[in-house]
Amino acid sequence: MNSSATTAPAWLHAARRIRIWVTAVAAVMAHIAGWNYILCACFITFDIVARSFFGFSSKATVEVTGYMLAGGIAWALAHTLARRAHIRVDVFMMRLPLRLRAWLHLFSLSLLLGLGIFFAWAALELVDESALFNAHDNSALRIEMIWPQGIWAFGIISFAIMALVLMLEASLSMLAGEPDALDSLLGSRTLQDETEEALEAVAMAHEGPGPKR
């Protein structure tokens, strides 16, 4: 384990490449999660219209949209972590010197990783149980629970993987003596980031073809 300065960057590069790859997959998953909500809105609206005007309903809206929500939450967890958007109270931490802050980032991430692995295990156990008892829901469609729960569990596992990959890169950055790289990798989004994002969204309203008159 003699981490000489010459070999460290090579590991670090490898870890970084893996992280970038996982991040890209996570981003795709989050977009799927987002479009899934758009679909969800259309589905519920269709159901209301069908119920009020045509007298029929899918009779499974409550269950199916619940599954869509579960999948949506789980599939966007990893992306949210990569975008550094999971909430932490960092007003005190941000005042600390960089090296100490870097250690605290590592500490926070390791706890999140531990919890992520626990959640992933719990989710898999649930799927396993549903498979064992061949569980179905009570909706008209009698959906087999392993499907929505399996999709959900996959998202939580991806979250744990994302945390693991970040942990790997962060630890190697620390070993290579680059606490500032670690800080920019894990430091939570500042209010400035958040504000910029809101402004970007507002700017979108002022571009484009504009109102048709």
Binding site: G34, M68, A70, G72, M93, V202, A205
Partner: protein, 454 residues
Amino acid sequence: MIAIVFLLGLLAVTIFAAASGAQALPIAEIMMLVGIFVLFFGSGVYIAAVLGILGVLIGFLFSDRPWWAFMGQTLWAPSSNFVLVAVPLFLLMGEILLRAGLSDRLYRALNVWLNRMPGGLLHTNIVSCAVFSAISGSSVATAATMGSVALPYFQDTKYSQRMVLGSLAAGGALGNLIPPGITFIIYGLITETSVGALYIAAVIPSLLVTGLFILVILAHGLKHPMEKPAKLPLALKLRALLDLVPTLLLILLVLGSIYGGFATPTEAAALGVVGAAIFATLEGKLTLRMLNASAEATARNTALLGLILFGAYLLNYILTLINVPQALAGMISGLPIPPWAIMLCIIALYVALGTFMEGFSMIITTVPVVFPIVTALGYDPIWFGVIVTMLVEIAQISPPDGTVMYVLQGMRKRAGPITDVFAGVMPFLAVYLLAVALLMIFPGLALWLPSVMS
């Protein structure tokens, strides 16, 4: 700093009360857990991880049952809850409206009607924020949208910069209180109260807060009189009302369907998304890129809430398993202190937490423990939901950590210190607290309407 001292003081009092209660409480372990909690919090650990790890530790320390066997179900239940489906849908609606430019028309139309009152354009800030927040569930989105529309109107005018920024921040902080707000959904989910009833209960308090804000501006306007703009012909004013039509239609669609009993809040949110998309199409703003950006933001913000909910449900499951909330509620309601004093402590706790914690995390972290105490004291769950939401909104505009204020600061054209925003928001913060006090003295302000409508 004041917040921390206050929290430690409250903690000391609680422990003292517990110790003098002559019950055999495992004080050492409790102190250790509290220590871990405070340490984790201070060192910037993810809130979800703080809650989750604490739950795991407590589970191993105090329970001999295989609690982990039920974890999958504990996490699955809130994930797939139909009530919670409303959250991403309202977020999505807000994201679409934010990018569709609905706010410009709203502001222009209201301005024509309000600009001759003392305080002038400042009223437009509050009222347009109030109206916009009736359709958007997010305070940050409300502040960002209205700020981007309103600030150009104030360029090169004699209006006090502080009041301009303050009124916009305050208006933004109406976002969650005026139905439909997301805070009510989370609260309803955790406490199993009806979200619809919460929305009905919030009507009078939101009118009250909006009214108090208008009074603040009237007072400011009378103290600093300004030249009134020329009177506009009535025909022009009436034509301006046309610009309000899309907004009013959306409000009618979302709130009308809830209050009319046609739809659950989740269904109303879905209708709202479709309505917002139709509106964006009419404005020529509905593009694939815009929908994609809205979808991504919605997914991210829902996941962020979801992870905290996971941690909170884990912790709450284990606390309930070993009877902590019930025991705590029993102990505190047995204290020789009148209920209103305990309620004041709870309110002070929220205000203190709000100076450094973000609103949602505050609710998800505290309500599972505080709620049994509140009900044991004999307070109404619906009433408390309104109070908590108001406190979360107060947190949004209480310096130094108020997201809404930083959003506005980032939008200023003329540079200035952030303290301008802080100073400007102070009078509004004061009347917001006054509204909480009024609600404490007259609970009927929140409870009368639900009792009439049910």
